[in-house]
């Protein structure tokens, strides 16, 4: 299994820089350059915030609806049940993120266990 990619340390760092870092960091830097004059509380600010929130929700929804790796084997209903169970636990426990995450993880682990056996 080892060095299946056949990359040296230097080559891999170069790839991380050019193919990984540059295409992600460019958006963060552009945001600073473009957004320097957007004051907090302005209409543009509220719109950008709404877009960011919707984008994040969409990213998360995509991770649940079209998962990768071993999660593909877990039926959608169970993936939704795990998120729903975690969220319900969070709301019922005076907003404990820890208990919410634990409850959701419990459901997904049980689902993984039973779909694999």
């Amino acid at each position: 299994m080892s060095s299946g990619l056949g990359l040296t340390e230097g080559g891999a760092i170069l790839i991380v820089l050019l193919v990984g870092f540059l295409p992600t960091e460019i958006w963060r830097s552009l945001a600073i350059l473009a957004g320097r004059r957007i004051p907090e509380g302005s209409a543009v600010f509220h719109w950008v915030r709404a877009v960011a929130t919707a984008l994040l929700a969409a990213v998360v929804a995509r991770l649940v609806l079209a998962p990768s790796g071993v999660l593909v084997d877990v039926p959608l209903v169970l993936r939704l049940a795990a998120v729903g169970g975690g969220l319900a636990t969070f709301l019922l426990t005076r907003q404990s993120i820890l208990l919410g995450v634990l409850a959701g993880e419990l459901i997904i682990v049980a689902s993984l266990f039973f779909t694999r056996h």
Binding site: I15, P23, A34, V51, V60, G86, G100
Partner: protein, 241 residues
């Protein structure tokens, strides 16, 4: 709030970062580290990838692309498309992490820390702070988050080339689960709730489009709908008064 030195605010930021979200980051990145070890990615470049890219979805795309030998320019493009969310995220967090004297380099450095966890926690924790405290505080917060993720990468890398499938699945599920909970905790006004609902509901419809276009439609379309909806609700409320 008591008066503190710059270093004092950094330490407050670190202290506030020692929470479940940091633990979730650590766990998620254990899965990433194990993945890298499994495909034979060199160790230093692995840890550096977490520090420099600081976006788990992009990092997973990078590794997956290298394994399936996607041409590097195409891979860079895919990673760029998957990271567009950083534009509105950084723009909306920027007013709370702007250097007092408008030093561009400081602002660019701060922007590097923006990622899902940092955005969600920053939008909640930064606004109540006095302006001079925000940058040292967010650097304490952000550096602790990145350090947690880097530790996770190292631990995963050292642990095993292949995690047991159930554990791998559990770690993989951490991201959508914890972010859903944190987003619900953060939702403070009708626009936030509408944006959450729009993003979640439009996503399945746009899913077939792929190539990052689905996220653009759900994000820009859903966000705009939420913004307009939020304004209309506010206006109606004011008119009814």
């Amino acid at each position: 709030m008591p008066e503190r030195s710059t270093l004092g605010w950094v330490l407050v930021g670190v202290r506030h970062a020692v929470t479940v979200p940091a633990l979730v980051l650590f766990a998620s990145y254990v899965g990433y580290g194990a993945l890298l070890q499994g495909v034979g990615f060199p160790p230093w470049a692995s840890v550096l990838s977490t520090f420099l890219i600081w976006a788990l979805p992009a990092q997973v795309i990078l590794v997956g692309g290298l394994v399936s030998q996607v041409p590097l320019p195409a891979l860079a493009l895919a990673i760029g498309l998957s990271s567009i969310r950083f534009l509105p995220m950084t723009m909306s967090l920027a007013p709370y992490m702007r250097s007092q004297r408008g030093r561009l380099l400081v602002d660019l450095l701060c922007a590097h820390y923006v990622a899902m966890t940092m955005w969600l926690e920053g939008m909640r924790l930064l606004p109540p702070l006095p302006a001079h405290a925000r940058i040292p505080y967010m650097l304490g917060l952000g550096n602790f988050y990145i350090a947690s993720a880097m530790s996770g990468t190292i631990v995963g890398y050292l642990l095993a080339s292949e995690l047991p499938p159930v554990l791998a699945g559990a770690l993989l599920f951490m991201t959508p689960l914890s972010f859903t909970i944190m987003m619900v905790r953060n939702a403070a006004n009708p626009t936030d709730w509408l944006a959450l609902a729009a993003g979640v509901l439009i996503m399945p419809l746009a899913l077939g489009l792929g190539g990052g276009l689905d996220l653009m439609i759900a994000g820009v379309g859903g966000g705009t709908l939420a913004y307009v909806g939020g304004r209309l609700m506010k206006r109606r409320q004011e008119a009814g008064r």
